[in-house]
């Protein structure tokens, strides 16, 4: 097993090569500092490619009445008043220039008849606001940034799994990673660090997230003493594919319901009439998701654990014309002809609103020289995310994080690293190579099943407590996992390392969910079904001095008076 390692130095190290990471790297590069990007998967394959709908920006090309204050109001209201108002303001103001900047990099967007960037309507946005390229906006964004990075000659190490950050005092000075395709261990020394590793949707069994969204950034940050915020806020999309197992969780676009699809249970009953007699299938995402969930829970679901989504009544021509991608997706993956058969759908984990707490203006964390941006960071989306805001989020805050990291890097020196710490880290990596090791995937399977069953879309104290018990048991089991063979491209080893990060996310999510005794946005408690005024607060999670997870509550920053005019006052029933 390897003992030695290679040391690489740069001014700024960006961990993660999704939209936020790449945009941060470009920002550092613009400032003239040397930047290195590392990513767990290949360059350009990050979870950003999965984004379909578009990027929210109040360009006002289609609806000229739109401006940043309306966008601002939408964010705060959809976030159910626990978002950071400052972040919402920055996003709403800066998103349009990020879109135009992308265009100048060579990204293509669909156009209005007079040649400006087309914007489409999306749930809960007051105006048509999403700049898009067909239903592949995420792909277009990541490819555009990827080619910027390549042509700017920014150094990147892909398939580099960062196992831990190295901290000296209250400052991050290095990061240790495994280059999966060679099996070599690397030490990255830098003056500033940006974490842009995405969410941890993979801790749930049924998720629309990529393989790599295992919350590695959250894990390494937490271990380094970084504060996490609102970890209980997980967005569920009401319609994910259920069958076949290979594509379980894969997104079924909201467009199907928009075009007239109806939800049925196995009794053939259109159950949305019961849950939401007026808006029916087109009610808010969380409402529909909860309804689907309840039907399945109460035994009116299909054998694969879903409900039916039916659009066959619209006729073959209509479906093929309006929903070609969905037609193709079901045809290719499920062998289901949606013009003739019903789709099976169930709620699927979609996005994590919580994450690393950052300072709104700089994306700085509470640990020195460490920044975070993108899904891994929190604050903007509050209790629920607006569709299309994730793409704006990664570009706006990726850029700010990169710029500020560059400033910090310029004004600090390379920190000293205690060689003992690197040795220990390598020892930790090597400790997983043992013949008697438990299969990490068995533990991961138990963990994700537990999370989907107990910390799902509708939560209650009983199940959450049960989940905590299982998690603490699995924590013990996690101490026994191991793999065999070589370090190079060893997925068993990766499973072991990811498991420790996933456990941190799970513990935080479950505990925070237990603490928040109300139902707000994406967080629903059946034992506390109402929104509570007392809970306009954020829950902070951090590593306690005793090594256990510590939780605290703090009030949401109050927005200045004039900003209150942009937002509808909150209503309590």
């Amino acid at each position: 097993m390897p003992e030695d390692y290679e040391t690489v130095e740069s001014d700024v190290l960006v961990i993660g090569a999704g939209g936020a990471g790449l945009r941060a790297a470009i920002a550092v590069n613009d400032s003239g500092q040397k930047v290195i990007v590392v990513s767990k998967s290949l360059l350009g394959k990050a979870h950003t490619v999965m984004a379909e709908g578009g990027m929210a920006a109040s360009l006002g090309n289609v609806d000229p009445q739109d401006n940043w204050t309306v966008h601002y109001g939408d964010i705060i209201e959809e976030g159910v008043y626990i978002s950071s108002w400052k972040m919402a303001e920055i996003l709403a103001k800066e998103a349009p220039s990020r879109v135009l900047e992308l265009e100048s990099y060579g990204a293509l967007f669909d156009r209005t008849p007079d040649g400006r960037i087309m914007q489409r309507a999306f749930g809960a946005h007051t105006y048509r606001r999403l700049a898009h390229l067909g239903d592949r906006t995420g792909l277009e964004i990541i490819k555009t940034l990827e080619h910027q990075v390549i042509h700017r000659d920014i150094t990147f190490y892909d398939e580099m799994y960062i196992t831990n950050l190295i901290k000296e005092g209250n400052r991050i000075v290095g990061a240790v990673g495994i280059k999966m395709n060679t099996g070599k261990i690397f030490l990255f020394k830098a003056k500033a660090f940006v974490i842009a590793t995405g969410g941890s949707g993979r801790v749930f069994k049924i998720t629309s997230n990529s393989w790599e969204s295992t919350g590695d950034g959250i894990g390494m940050a937490y271990r380094a003493g970084v504060k996490l915020r609102d970890m209980e806020m997980i967005q569920f999309h009401p319609t994910g594919m259920v069958y076949p197992p290979g594509v379980r969780g894969l997104l079924v676009t909201e467009g199907v319901r928009g075009e007239g699809g109806i939800l049925l249970n196995t009794k053939g009953e259109r159950f949305m009439l019961r849950y939401s007699p007026e808006k029916k299938e087109l009610d808010a995402r969380d409402v529909v998701a909860r309804a689907n969930y309840r039907e399945i829970l109460e035994g009116r679901g299909t054998e694969h654990g879903g409900v039916y989504l039916d659009i066959t009544h619209k006729g073959s021509d209509f479906i093929k014309h309006k929903l070609p991608a969905m037609y193709q997706q079901f045809m290719e993956f499920a062998g289901v002809d949606i013009t003739k058969e019903k789709m099976e759908v169930a709620p699927t984990v979609h996005y994590m609103m919580g994450g690393i707490e950052v300072e709104a203006e700089t994306e700085r964390t509470n640990v020195e020289n460490l920044f975070a941006a993108g899904e891994v960071a929190s604050g903007l989306h509050g209790a629920n995310r607006l569709g299309g805001n994730s793409l704006s989020d990664i570009l706006v805050f990726g850029k700010i994080a990169g710029e500020n990291a560059a400033i910090i890097a310029k004004n600090s020196d390379m920190g000293k690293i205690n060689a003992e710490k690197i040795k220990n880290e390598i020892k930790y990596i090597n400790s997983f190579f043992r013949e008697d090791g438990k299969n990490p995937y068995d533990v991961i399977d138990k963990l994700t099943t537990c999370m989907s069953e107990n910390v799902g879309i509708v939560r209650d104290a009983e199940h959450l407590k049960k989940a905590l018990e299982i998690i603490s048991e699995l924590k013990k089991e996690a101490g026994e996992v191991g793999t065999k063979g070589m370090i190079k491209y060893n997925h068993g080893l990766l499973g072991c390392l990811e498991l420790s990060n996933m456990l941190i996310s799970c513990e935080a999510i479950t505990n925070c969910a237990l603490m928040r005794e109300e139902s707000r946005g994406a967080h629903t408690r059946s034992d506390f079904p109402k929104k509570d005024k007392e809970w306009i607060r954020n829950i902070i999670t951090e590593l306690g001095e005793d090594g256990n997870m510590k939780f605290g509550v703090k009030p949401v920053d109050e927005m200045p008076g004039e900003y209150k005019n942009y937002v509808k006052p909150e209503v309590y029933s």
Binding site: S41, L42, G44, K45, A46, H47, V49, M50, E103, S104, Y105, G106, L108, D110, R111, T112, P113, D114, G115, R116, I117, M118, L133, G134, R136, L139, K143, H147, I150, H151, D153, N181, S210, W211, E212, Y243, P244, P245, G246, V247, L250, L251, E332, F333, A334, G335, N439, P440, Y441, T483, K484, G485, M486, K488, Y489, N490, H491, G492, L493, G495
Partner: protein
């Protein structure tokens, strides 16, 4: 449901330690509607954690899990087991150097991408840029490319011969910039001179395997070839271009 099994043959080799490749047989329980990636992952998670595979989104959107399945380059996540029978052979893409088992080294792609001049807007355009909605269509087709490399793998020029040819994926990339309505650079001559465009003999296999159904040959390679002819082989076209340039200068 009756217990049904798939016979899976997976190519295994770590070029650093193994002398040669070998095929290993695995039995995987069949689950309705499973894709090849499910079967390969089953082996990885239950039989041998050292089996190297590369995958990510599992929704045919990222283009990571390219492999040769029963002798055809395909995405593992998009190939349903019931469409190819219960005897499945999976081997890595042969056009790229092997890293381990099913994982190949695709870093050459970045080197080539770096060489192709990227999007360069025309000069003196008024901001914000305006583009006719219909003019987006040509470049938009190539923007579907997920860079999975299947076209590179099936291309016999890249696969079997030692030539300077960049490969279909990169011609598509170049065409996506060339055909951008506001792009001010012509890459065809460069592609022909440095990128070995002439080595493509338009046998259209790349088009056949493209999981995004991009008409690689008809819409990217042949138009680039024709543009290169304009600039390099066609004396009349070259003459007309020369005169036009002079006229512009005179103005």
């Amino acid at each position: 449901m009756a217990e049904k099994e798939i016979e899976l043959k997976i190519m295994r080799q770590d070029p650093e330690t193994d002398k040669g490749p070998r095929y290993e047989n695995y039995k995987v329980p069949y689950v309705d509607g499973m894709v090849v990636l499910d079967a390969v992952r089953y082996v990885q998670e239950h039989t041998d954690p050292t089996l190297a595979i590369r995958w990510n989104c599992k929704a045919a959107k990222c283009g990571s899990c390219s492999a040769e399945i029963n002798g055809m380059p395909k995405l593992m996540c998009k190939t349903r087991v019931d469409t190819i029978g219960d005897k499945i052979t999976v081997s890595p893409m042969a056009a790229f150097p092997l890293i381990k088992d099913l994982v190949t080294d695709v870093s050459k792609n970045w080197e080539i991408t770096r060489k192709i001049p990227m999007f360069t807007p025309k000069e003196n355009m008024e901001k914000p840029w305006r583009i006719n909605p219909k003019d987006v269509e040509k470049s938009k087709e190539f923007k579907k490319c997920i860079e999975c490399g299947l076209c590179m793998d099936v291309c016999h020029v890249v696969r079997e011969h030692y030539t300077p040819y960049f490969g279909p994926m990169h011609i598509v990339k170049a065409a996506s910039w060339d055909m951008h309505p506001l792009d001010g650079v012509d890459r065809s001559k460069y592609l022909n001179k440095e990128g070995g465009l002439g080595y493509c003999n338009i046998t259209k296999c790349c088009t056949e395997v493209c999981p995004e159904h991009i008409h690689i040959t008809d819409n990217a390679i042949i138009p680039e070839k024709e543009r290169a002819v304009d600039l390099q082989y066609d004396p009349i076209a070259m003459l007309i271009k020369g005169i036009r340039k002079k006229e512009k200068v005179m103005k």
